[in-house]
């Protein structure tokens, strides 16, 4: 069984839940940006939640199936078509040999997840099939999928065709999107007024938003506490001696445009970071379109941990719903 790629869409990549363990060498964890949606897509087709599927951005691919199988589409709200007939998303769908999957125009959200029964079984690189094009790792020869690719799939488990996850159990960002963060890292470099301003401002997602990081515009330029720059840091007040970056950390080069590092993050660099987005809200970032209004909300560690548990509970509820 294979997925024949007729049209790859805009930027569609093979992703699973990533390759932890190599960030100290500059190789990021990678994997689905919206892990919640990726996990649910896999659950629907009876895969283990870390099976590899497709992550498409803004536009869906067109795919032909070489034998009968089951698929599920989750994530962004976009019409799903089987041979031109609309089919429900967040639902286990049966497809027959020769049928084609295609998509309409994106309504809300940014990333579409496609799981196929048995998962995509391209070769693993450092323990994962996730595509990391900068390092030419995973996927197909380290790149996004292209027309003419035939993606191999594994043997399917038990699938309940028609099983579905109700919209009350989906998890998508609000408008404006609220991204919760824990203040820290180099937050002390900001003046108190500037820190308050950063949290009060409404930002907008900039066009430069990808798997490495999301850039934001529209807030006021940050002001730094005066200091003599430490040896080795560089002369700009936003510079530090190059250190490690956290996933979700918010750097503001030159104090102007915040960048939130995501799954394909660079592992370190010389810009100050003022905190990091909480783990529970990382999925939301993957669903933000350019120009979406966003506010950063500072929360305590306890609130961050409760939000993480809430996300776990929702996934548990879906697992029970589908079992």
């Amino acid at each position: 069984m294979a997925l024949n790629i007729i049209n790859p869409g805009l930027s569609t990549s093979i992703q699973d839940l990533g390759r932890p363990g190599y960030f100290h060498l500059g190789i990021p964890i990678g994997g689905a940006m919206d892990r919640f949606s990726m996990r649910v897509a896999n659950m629907l087709v009876g895969n283990s939640e870390d099976a590899a599927g497709l992550e498409a951005v803004f536009m869906g691919p067109e795919i032909e199936f070489t034998s009968d199988t089951a698929i599920a589409v989750t994530g962004a709200d976009i019409p799903v078509m089987i041979d031109g007939v609309e089919a429900p998303s967040w639902t286990a769908l049966a497809v027959s040999k020769g049928q084609k999957l295609s998509f309409g125009f994106l309504k809300t959200g940014a990333r579409i997840y496609i799981a196929v029964a048995g998962g995509i079984t391209t070769p693993e690189a450092l323990g994962s099939r996730s595509t990391y094009p900068i390092g030419a790792l995973g996927g197909i020869e380290g790149r996004n999928i292209a027309a003419g690719d035939a993606l191999p799939t594994g043997s399917a488990g038990a699938v309940t065709i028609g099983a579905s996850v109700p919209s009350t159990m989906h998890r998508m960002p609000a408008t404006p999107a609220i991204l919760r963060m824990v203040k820290g890292l180099y937050w002390h470099r900001l003046t108190e007024a500037s820190g308050q301003q950063f949290l009060a401002d409404e930002w907008k997602v900039a066009p430069e938003a990808d798997r490495m990081g999301y850039r934001f515009r529209g807030g006021k330029t940050l002001e730094f506490v005066d200091r003599e720059q430490p040896f080795g840091a560089g002369s700009d007040p936003s510079n530090i001696v190059d250190g490690c970056y956290s996933y979700g950390s918010i750097q503001v080069p030159g104090g102007t445009e915040p960048i939130v590092l995501h799954r394909d993050a660079v592992s370190g660099g010389g810009y100050f970071t003022l905190g990091a987005i909480i783990s529970a809200d990382m999925d939301y970032i993957g669903q933000l379109q350019p120009h979406t209004p966003v506010k950063f909300e500072a929360v305590s560690m306890d609130e961050a941990l409760s939000a993480r548990q809430e996300r776990h509970k929702l996934l548990d509820a879906i697992r029970s719903e589908l079992s």
């Binding site: 380290g142 510079n239 783990s279």
Partner: protein, 291 residues
Amino acid sequence: MKTRYTFGGDEHIYVEIDEEMSLDAFFKSLSMSNAVKDANIDGVTEICPANASFQVKFNPDVIHPNDLLERIKMLEEKAVQAEKRLNTRIIEIPVYYQDPWTHETLMRFRERHQDPNGTDLEYAAQINGFDSVDDFITAHHSQPWFVSMVGFVSGLPFLYQLVERDKQLQVPKYLRPRTDTPKLTVGYGGCFSCIYSVRGAGGYQMFGITPMPIYDPEQKVTYLQDFMVLFRPGDIVKWRPIDRAEYDAICQQVEDGTYMPKMAEVEFDLDIFNQDIAKTNARLMEALNGA
């Protein structure tokens, strides 16, 4: 040096050993991150040492962030007392300074540079008080360097020169980062040299290029067959200037699978180094030349 502990969201603890760069800060960071690794703490998933800091990634479902923070703080004392000694290796890296490829790239991005009328090397030589580019290049390659961090992207080493603070070369990064840097460019920013392991964006000044791959995801390069990344923190590097003919010859040897980098096992002791820098470096280079 004053150690500062902070959280990066709910999954990371960031430990800044010092705000400024020094080998003392690097060694303390390395010993502490090794101590965290040796402690085998449940829930710790990744440990990343950097120049003067390190980061621990963890699963807060397994260990509470505050509990992990206390465990790490307790390891600081032990790290301070640890011997600042490393069994490591010195690796010779051939560099073709003022090569045509980085030259073409730096001309293409001239409007993003501090000195639109010169080259990166002319600018670096001038602001560091050298009479000529050649003198600056000599200062860059005559003394060895220490890999104080591996990261940014795939296997990229940050290198810190093993000389007195007043002899450190310092160069700002580009005013605005470039969107392109040739693969294997030897770059410079702040007090750090680097080798761009892959082609891509970059903000460091560009001095030259090495013919020697340092990252190979396909693991076809002879000396990268065991692991796709060459460098580890603590490696020592000696640049060796080469010309176009030698550059081409080494590229061919890499292609043929006959190229082996020159390297030697060495011991590096920070206290001995601080007592006599010239003698320590001479001993390191002697080991390399005997290889």
